[in-house]
Structure formats: structure tokens, C-alpha cells
């Protein structure tokens, strides 16, 4: 062995990064692990099979970070729901219906953040406020809260393309229910916008529809700009809601039937 080769061997045996790079190179060529290990033993004789296997296994599964610190690997995975990987959370939320998703989101902040990230149900939401009921419709299902005689609300859940309905009595009043669900819709980062329609506030001045319909679901720190029709999002000052109100009139006398609001999440032009 020449002087240069000896020097290179000495360098390689002491250089952890070089060792990992060699394994990465070999794993990408799909050579059998044992063959690679035997071959590398000539240059890295002191390396044990377990260490080799660890890196070979990682690279083979597409984890190409050469600077990865093995001590950071989860030795005992934290077996709680909020600590689940995001793709797992996506699968779980995908199996939940709207009401159960909303309930799961209310369990704790940590879980809510995870659920919000993966919940795609609020892409298209339509909300209809009436005097005695509120209906929230998503792509997959609709939930309706109706006032009952006891002053509480009755919840009806119906999956789209399915005749089965689930009924449930709520302890909260109709207003508390719609407030809670709407607040959750608006806080969801995937919430892009919705239609709100109402015949409750039809006697208000036109410019105040958005205020009365949306204000109750917005926390104190947000504000509505009556001139521009934009609402600041409390989650991040970079986002705004744009609100457009349309009066829907029917009949020969063009009586005001209901007010429809289009709410869209838009990005702040200044960001």
C-alpha cells in the first residue's frame, strides 16, 4: 500500500462522515447489505455490524441526512395522540365526522393544533343562520342545530349521500352552539372561506350585516373595517377575511328573503 493510500485509509477510518457517505453511496446502488459490509470492512475494520446496519437501514428508507444524530431517535415513542406523526393524524381525522372532529379539536391545545393542520373539512363551508336553527354544511356532511323547547339545542348530523341521521340533545343554547362551531371553523388554518346566509338580521342597515353575523364568533382583539369590508384575523396579522354581503330578494314585491355573506380568507397585501 502506497503512502497516499495509507494516508487516505487513516483519514477514512477516523472520519465518521466519510463512513456514512460510503454507506449512502452503496445503499443507493442497491447492493446487499452483507456484501457492502464485508467490502467496507477492508477500510473500516473496527465498525460493528449494528452501526453499519443502522445507517444502511436509514439511507435505504430515504433518510439521507448524513449529519443525523442517532441519540435523537425516539427510543420509546411518546405514545399519546398529540405526539402522533402528522400523516397518522391525517388518517385518524379522515375517519372522523365533522362533530367528532370538532370535539377532538376541543380536547386540548396541543391536539387542536394537530387536528387543525390536517383537517380539510373546512375547505368549503356553508352556514345558514335562521331564527330557530343553524346549519353548517361541508363537502362531506351537514350539521344542524335547532332550538328545542327546553331552551337548549338539538343537533342533527347527516352524511352526504347517506340517509342516516344522528340526533343529539345539547346542553348549550343554540347561540352558544353556533358560536363555538363557527369559531372553530374560523380558527382552522385550512379554512379558506364560507357562505353565511341569514334571515335573522335582515332589518339591519346593510353595512352592519357582516358585523352582526361574524362579530360574535370573533374574539375581542379582531376588528372589522366597515369601509374596506375586511376583517383582521386574530391568528396572524398577515391574514384578513374579506366579507361581501348580498341581499337576496324574492316575490313580486322584492321582499328581502335573506342576507348572504361571502367570507374569504385573503392574504394581507402588506405581507
Amino acid at each position: 500500500m502506497g503512502k497516499k493510500a495509507r494516508h487516505l485509509k487513516k483519514f477514512l477510518t477516523k472520519n465518521e462522515l466519510a463512513y456514512r457517505t460510503c454507506i449512502l453511496y452503496e445503499s443507493m446502488h442497491g447492493k446487499p447489505a452483507q456484501e457492502v459490509y464485508d467490502k467496507m470492512q477492508k477500510v473500516f475494520p473496527k465498525r460493528d455490524y449494528y452501526t453499519f446496519q443502522y445507517w444502511y437501514f436509514r439511507f435505504l428508507n430515504g433518510n439521507y441526512d448524513l449529519n443525523h444524530d442517532p441519540s435523537l431517535d425516539p427510543k420509546n415513542p411518546d405514545a399519546t395522540l398529540p405526539k402522533m406523526p402528522i400523516n397518522v393524524m391525517e388518517k385518524i381525522v379522515d375517519c372522523l365526522d365533522l362533530v367528532d372532529t370538532l370535539s377532538t379539536g376541543k380536547v386540548c391545545r396541543e391536539l387542536r393544533d394537530k387536528v387543525d393542520k390536517v383537517n380539510k373539512m373546512f375547505d368549503e363551508v356553508e352556514v345558514r343562520f335562521k331564527l330557530d336553527h343553524v346549519i353548517v354544511e361541508t363537502r362531506r356532511q351537514s350539521i344542524a342545530y335547532r332550538s328545542n323547547q327546553n331552551g337548549g339545542a338539538c343537533l342533527t348530523v347527516k352524511r352526504r349521500k347517506c340517509d342516516k341521521e344522528v340526533h343529539k340533545e345539547c346542553k348549550k343554547t343554540l347561540e352558544e352552539c353556533d358560536y363555538l362551531e363557527m369559531a372553530i371553523c374560523f380558527k382552522n388554518p385550512n379554512f379558506k372561506g364560507c357562505y353565511l346566509s341569514s334571515n335573522v338580521y335582515q332589518y339591519l342597515p346593510e353595512q352592519e350585516y357582516p358585523v352582526f353575523l361574524v362579530e360574535r364568533v370573533m374574539p375581542d382583539q379582531t376588528f372589522y373595517d366597515i369601509i374596506t369590508g375586511k376583517y383582521w384575523d386574530w391568528h396572524s396579522t398577515q391574514d384578513l377575511f374579506n366579507i361581501t354581503a348580498t341581499e337576496v330578494k324574492c316575490g313580486p314585491h322584492r321582499m328581502l328573503e335573506y342576507v348572504e355573506l361571502r367570507i374569504e380568507r385573503i392574504r394581507n397585501q402588506n405581507s
Binding site: 446487499p32 452483507q34 431517535d73 420509546n76 379522515d94 367528532d100 386540548c108
Partner: protein, 201 residues
Amino acid sequence: MSVENAPVVDVDEAAIPVEKKMYYRFESNDKKEFRVSELAIQQSETLNRLVEAMGYTSEDVENKPAIAIENIDGKTLKLVFQWCEHHKGEAIPVDDGSVPKIVEIPEFDAKLMDIDNGLLFKLIWAADYLNIVQLLNVSCKKVANMAQGKTPAQLRRVYLLPSDEEDEAAKRAAQEAQDPRAREVEEEFEERKRQGGNSFF
């Protein structure tokens, strides 16, 4: 020659050499060893790629050390391999996200997952880590079923999670336990404020 006219040959099945089934050896992080059939391993994309790349012969499997799975304990790995053996040879579902899936939990899986929540979440974590698509689907469905029709308070009990208030109180208590003087300083500061003093020192 047409198919109808092809000569019929009696086959002595015992005379055909049967390919010997290969069983791989795996070791959990608590040093428990498992022997798993080649066909069962195919349910795990990660392990299947690994054994293919290793190119072991039947002798290698016996003579070389068991393949270490560092992040999964024996209890969880036992469930994983039981599931793989039961479902070996079954088609692996393709998840392209285009159609919302309807996941049914078979009876065997339901019995296998009749375990405590901690172990169930470990099983999910392992199914994800080892990329066992159908096991991940059914275990996630099981967790979703646990949430059905429950209030947030009931869910906290099911998933053993504290509410935001309880969580904050626990964090405060932990902080105080770590630095008891911080609480004393805070109380002293509040007392001085009440007395109208504007200087703490």
C-alpha cells in the same frame, strides 16, 4: 394444438421440490427475538426493502445476528408480526388520496387491537415506522371509532390527556418545583406592589 387436445399428465405433487419457506429473525429494542415468514414481511414496505437489500440466504438467516429494530419494543413488535402473519399474501392498499377510504376493521384485527391505549398508540407508531399501510389504516380507524359521539371531556379520559388549564397548572407546578425561589420572589414583588412601593430593590 388446442387446449382441448393437450395431453393430460398426472402430476405427482410430492415429487415437485417445494421451495423452503424462509423465516427472518428480528430483534426488538428490549432484545426479544421474532421469526417472521418472508411473505408476512411483504406487508411492511420498510422491512421488505431491507431484507431484499440484505440478500440473505437461508443459512445467513440462521447464522447472522437477528435484524435489530431499534425503536420498537417486544410487546409492540409481537402484535405487528402477528398482524403481518395473519394478513400475509393480501394485497397492499394503494393510498393516492383521491377517494375517501371506507376502512372496515376485520374481526381478527379488532381482537388484536383490544389493548390499552398506550400500546395501541405504540402499534400505530410502529405501523407508520415500518410502513404497514393496512395496519395503519385499521389502527387509525380504531382510534377514530373511540372518539365517536364523545364530548371533549369524555375524550380527555379516553386519550388520557389533560385540559389546557390542567396542563398549564402542571407546567407551573413543575416550574415552581424546579425553582422554588421564583415563586417567593413573585409573591414578594406582588406584596410590595400592593404596599405602593415602585422599587423592588
